[in-house]
C-alpha cells in the first residue's frame, strides 16, 4: 500500500516524540531538576540549545523529561476514557432499557459540568499527582465518548446485518463485539485523537492552576504555565513547550486519520 504524505509526517512526528520520551528516561543533556541561579533566563546558545528558565534549568532537558510525563499522562487518560466510555456507551446503546436510562442520566449530569471544573473537583479530592490527573481527566472526558459510542451503536443495532447475526444464533455479546463495535471504530478513533489534544491542554491548564503534576517535575503544561511572567523577555520559555504540544497534536491527528481510513475496508483500497 502506498503511504500518503500526511501519514508519513504524522508517523515521523510521533516517532520523534516516542523516541524523545524514551531517551529522556536514560539521558538528558543536563539534569532537568538542577538549579543554577547564575545561568538564569539565558537565551538559546551552543550549550543550552533551548536556553534556560528562571531557575537556570536547561529547557531542552526539561522538554525531554516533560515529554515522558505529558505523553504518559495523555495516553493513559485517553486509553482509560475510551475504554470506559466504549464499555458503558455500548452497553447503554445496545441493550437500552432501564440500564440505558440510568447510565445516560449520570452521564449527562457529568457532561453538564465543564470538563476542567469536574477535573478540578476530582483533583482536590484525590490530590495533585499523576494518577490523580489521569483519573480526573478521564472522568471529565469519558462522558462524551460514551455519548458518541451510544449514538453510533444505536444506529448500528438497527442494521440488518445485526439482525442477521441474531438469526444465525450468535449471542448478543458476540454480535456486539463482532459486528457492532468494529463498525463504530471510525467515530471513536476520531474522538480519541482529538481528545489526546484536549488532554494535553487540560493537563497544562491544571498544572497552571497548581493542580497538575507537582513541581519541580517538568511537564509541558507546567513549563508553559511557569513561562508566563517571562513571555516578553524570554519568549523561548513558552515557545518550546508550546511548539511541542502543537506538533504532537498535529502528529496524533494525522496518524488518527490514517488509522481510521486504514481500518475501514471501504477506504483502504483508495
Amino acid at each position: 500500500m502506498r503511504i500518503r504524505a500526511n501519514t508519513a509526517i504524522g508517523g515521523i512526528l510521533i516517532a520523534l516524540l516516542g523516541g524523545t520520551a524514551l531517551a529522556a528516561v536514560a539521558w538528558t543533556p543536563f539534569d532537568p531538576l538542577r538549579v543554577n541561579l547564575r545561568a538564569r533566563l539565558q537565551p538559546p546558545s551552543a550549550q543550552h540549545w533551548l536556553g534556560t528558565d528562571e531557575f537556570g534549568r536547561d529547557v531542552l532537558s526539561r522538554i525531554m523529561a516533560g515529554a515522558s510525563t505529558s505523553v504518559l499522562v495523555a495516553v493513559a487518560t485517553v486509553v482509560l476514557a475510551v475504554t470506559v466510555g466504549v464499555l458503558i456507551g455500548s452497553v447503554s446503546g445496545y441493550w437500552r432499557g432501564w440500564a440505558d436510562r440510568l447510565i445516560m442520566a449520570v452521564n449527562d449530569a457529568l457532561l453538564a459540568f465543564p470538563g476542567i471544573l469536574l477535573a478540578l473537583g476530582v483533583m482536590i479530592v484525590i490530590g495533585a499527582n499523576s494518577i490523580g490527573i489521569v483519573l480526573a481527566l478521564a472522568l471529565a472526558y469519558m462522558p462524551s465518548v460514551a455519548r458518541v459510542v451510544r449514538g453510533t451503536v444505536l444506529s448500528l443495532r438497527e442494521k440488518e446485518y445485526i439482525e442477521a447475526s441474531r438469526v444465525l444464533g450468535n449471542s448478543e455479546l458476540y454480535s456486539l463485539l463482532r459486528h457492532v463495535l468494529p463498525n463504530a471504530v471510525a467515530p471513536v478513533a476520531v474522538l480519541a485523537t482529538s481528545m489526546f489534544g484536549w488532554v494535553l491542554l487540560a493537563e497544562s491548564a491544571l498544572s497552571f492552576l497548581g493542580l497538575g503534576v507537582p513541581p519541580p517535575a517538568p511537564t509541558w503544561g507546567n513549563m508553559l504555565a511557569a513561562s508566563r511572567p517571562y513571555m516578553e523577555n524570554a519568549a523561548w520559555l513558552s515557545i518550546a513547550p508550546g511548539l511541542c504540544i502543537a506538533l504532537t497534536l498535529l502528529g496524533i491527528n494525522l496518524l488518527g486519520d490514517a488509522l481510521r481510513d486504514r481500518l475501514d475496508p471501504r477506504m483502504a483500497q483508495r
Binding site: 447475526s165 438469526v167 444465525l168 444464533g169 468494529p182 463498525n183 475496508p265 471501504r266
Partner: protein, 531 residues
C-alpha cells in the same frame, strides 16, 4: 405532422474523469406522447433524463449532442434560462417521495412556491388552484392537506402531492424517474393512473423512466431501451415487448418471471412450520401521560408450511407480511398464538435447534452484510455453531460459494460486489447450515430485472437440492407467480385468502386479491393496450 416536442440527438454524458456514462443516444418524444425509457441500473437512463433538465449530478458532464425542445437547443441555454423552463415547461417527479418534499414546510407552501415563482398571480388565486389540483389527485381533504406537513402522509400520498405540485404548472413535458418504485403495487397503480390521466388532460408528454416492463406495457406508447449508456432499441411499446429485435431486449423480456408448470414437485407431508392464532402487537406512541392505542400488525394468523414447499405471502405495505415472517422466526415478541417448528412448540422458548435451523434472507443486500467482514468470513460465520473440523469447514464454505456462483470471491469485501452478488452471499449464509425453514423477505425486489431472474432461479435450484421449506414474502406478484407453490394474501394483519398458486392467480375469491392482481404490472402479451 408537427415537429416532435423533445428531440435528443447524439447525446453523450461522461464522468469528469472522462469515462462515458451515456454514449451517442438519440430519441424523440412527440407532443402528448408517453415514452418509456427502459434500462437496468447503470444504463444511464436517469443521467439522460437529468441532462434534459440541465440537472446532472456533480461529477457528470454533458459531452456532445443536442437536446431540442420545441426546436430550441437546451444545451445552448444558460442556467438562468434553464431555470425559467423547469416547472412551466418541463416538470419532474422523483423516485423517493419520502425525501423529495421539504419536511420543514407545509404542503401548501411548497406547492405555492413553484406556482408563484413562474406565474404572477394573487395568493388567493394560487391557493385556489392548489386546492383544485390536490382534489384532482384525489387527496381526501385538500384544505387540511394544504396546511399539513409532509411527514403526515404515506409514500403514495406524498407522490400524489409531488405530482399535483408539478402538474400545477401545466408543463409540456413530464419526466418521471422511477416514480413508483418505492411504492407497493396497489398504490403504484393508483399514482400512475392519476399521472397518466392528468398528463392526458393537460396534453402533457411524459418520459417515464423505469425498469419495470409491466409499467411499459400498461402506460407507454413507445419504449426506448438503454443498456450501458447506449441506445439498444426503440419502437412502439408493444413491438419492443412482444417482438424485440435486439438480443439485450429479448434478454430483458425473457427475464420476466413466468409461471412454471404446477405440480412439478411431489406434495410433501412433513410439517416444518405451523403457526396458530398468531398475533403481534405494535405499541402506540408514548405520549406524556398515556400511550396511544397500539395496533395488531399480525392479527390471528394460522399457517402451515411443509418441507420443500414455497409459500408466498403477498400484500400491500402495512399488511403485516414482514412482521409475520419475523414472528415465525421468533424475532419479535408475540401478543398471543402458538408457533410449532418440526412438531416442537417454540412459542415460549426457541431453543438452540430452532435458531440454527430457521433462517432469514433479507430484502436489502446492501445493509444485510457486515461491511467489515470478507465474503468468505460472512459465509463461514453460521458454521461457528456447528461442530466441524477446520478443514471441512473451509471446504464447505468454498463449496457453498461455488454453488451460488461466487467462486474465488471469498477474499472480497461486500462493497466490492454488485447487488446481485451480495444477495447471493446472503443466500449462501442462510443455507450453509442446511436449515429446514427459510424466510425470504422480498429477496429480489432491490435487484435489476435480469439479476432478479438469476437469483430466483438460484433460489429454486437450492431449494430443490436441499429441500428447505420457504416463506417467500413479496409484493411482486410476478416473482411470486414464478416461485410459489401456495399463495397467502394478507391485508391489515389477517389472511384474506390462501390457496394453491394457480387457484389464487386464476380464480381469486377475495376482493383484495382481485385488486392486487389487477394492479400488478404483469406484461400481458395478449392484451397490451394499443397506443
Amino acid at each position: 405532422m408537427t415537429a416532435p416536442l423533445l428531440q435528443i440527438e447524439g447525446l453523450g454524458i461522461a464522468t469528469a474523469a472522462g469515462a462515458p456514462i451515456v454514449h451517442d443516444v438519440s430519441f424523440e418524444i412527440g407532443r402528448g406522447e408517453f415514452v418509456a425509457v427502459v434500462g437496468e441500473s447503470g444504463s444511464g437512463k436517469t443521467a439522460a433524463a437529468r441532462a434534459v433538465l440541465g440537472l446532472l449530478p456533480a461529477g457528470l458532464v454533458r459531452g456532445q449532442g443536442r437536446i431540442l425542445l420545441d426546436g430550441e437547443d437546451l444545451t445552448a441555454l444558460s442556467q438562468r434560462q434553464l431555470r425559467a423552463l423547469r416547472g412551466p415547461v418541463i416538470g419532474m417527479v422523483f423516485q423517493e417521495p419520502m425525501v423529495s418534499l421539504n419536511p420543514a414546510l407545509t404542503i401548501g407552501a411548497q406547492m405555492m412556491e413553484g406556482l408563484r415563482l413562474h406565474e404572477r398571480i394573487a395568493k388567493d388565486e394560487a391557493r385556489r388552484r392548489c386546492l383544485d389540483m390536490l382534489a384532482r389527485v384525489q387527496i381526501r381533504d385538500p384544505a387540511r392537506t394544504f396546511d399539513a406537513y409532509p411527514h403526515e402522509f404515506s409514500g403514495g400520498m406524498r407522490q400524489r402531492i409531488m405530482l399535483a405540485s408539478v402538474m400545477l404548472l401545466r408543463p409540456k413535458l413530464l419526466i418521471a424517474d422511477e416514480p413508483t418504485t418505492a411504492l407497493d403495487t396497489l398504490t403504484q397503480r393508483e399514482v400512475l393512473d392519476l399521472m397518466v390521466g392528468l398528463a392526458r388532460d393537460h396534453g402533457t408528454a411524459m418520459m417515464l423512466i423505469t425498469h419495470n416492463l409491466g409499467l411499459v406495457a400498461r402506460y407507454a406508447q413507445r419504449a426506448v431501451v438503454l443498456c450501458r449508456g447506449r441506445l439498444v432499441e426503440t419502437g412502439t411499446a408493444q413491438q419492443v415487448l412482444t417482438s424485440p429485435r435486439e438480443a439485450y431486449t429479448r434478454e430483458l423480456v425473457e427475464a420476466l418471471p413466468r409461471r412454471a408448470a404446477a405440480g412439478s414437485r411431489p406434495p410433501a407431508q412433513d410439517v416444518v412450520m405451523a403457526v396458530r392464532g398468531l398475533k403481534v402487537a405494535f405499541p402506540g406512541r408514548q405520549r406524556l401521560f398515556r400511550r396511544d392505542a397500539g395496533h395488531m400488525a399480525v392479527d390471528g394468523v394460522d399457517l402451515t408450511i411443509r418441507a420443500g414447499e414455497t409459500v408466498a405471502v403477498v400484500g400491500g405495505s402495512g399488511s403485516g407480511k414482514t412482521t409475520l415472517g419475523r414472528a415465525m422466526l421468533r424475532l419479535l415478541p408475540l401478543a398471543s398464538g402458538e408457533v410449532r417448528f418440526l412438531g416442537r412448540d417454540v412459542t415460549s422458548a426457541t431453543g438452540r435447534e430452532f435458531r440454527l435451523a430457521a433462517q432469514l434472507v433479507f430484502q436489502d443486500p446492501y445493509s444485510s452484510l457486515d461491511p467489515r467482514m470478507r465474503i468468505g468470513d460472512i459465509v463461514a460465520e453460521p458454521l461457528r455453531h456447528v461442530a466441524l473440523p477446520g478443514a471441512e469447514r473451509a471446504s464447505r464454505v468454498t463449496a457453498m460459494l461455488e454453488e451460488v456462483g461466487l467462486s474465488g470471491l471469498a477474499q472480497r469485501w461486500p462493497h466490492e460486489l454488485s447487488g446481485g452478488q451480495r444477495q447471493r452471499v446472503a443466500i449462501a449464509r442462510a443455507i450453509i447450515r442446511r436449515p429446514a425453514f427459510v424466510v425470504a423477505d422480498e429477496p429480489v425486489s432491490a435487484l435489476d430485472m435480469t439479476i432478479q431472474a438469476q437469483v430466483l432461479k438460484l433460489f429454486e435450484r437450492l431449494q430443490a437440492q436441499y429441500g428447505f421449506a420457504c416463506l417467500f414474502i413479496s409484493h411482486d406478484l410476478a416473482a411470486v407467480e414464478q416461485i410459489a407453490d401456495r399463495v397467502v394474501v394478507m391485508q391489515a394483519g389477517r389472511i384474506v385468502e390462501q390457496g394453491s398458486r394457480d387457484d389464487v392467480f386464476d380464480r381469486p375469491q377475495h376482493d383484495y386479491t382481485k385488486a392486487l392482481l389487477a394492479a400488478a404490472p404483469i406484461v400481458a402479451f395478449s392484451d397490451a393496450v394499443p397506443a
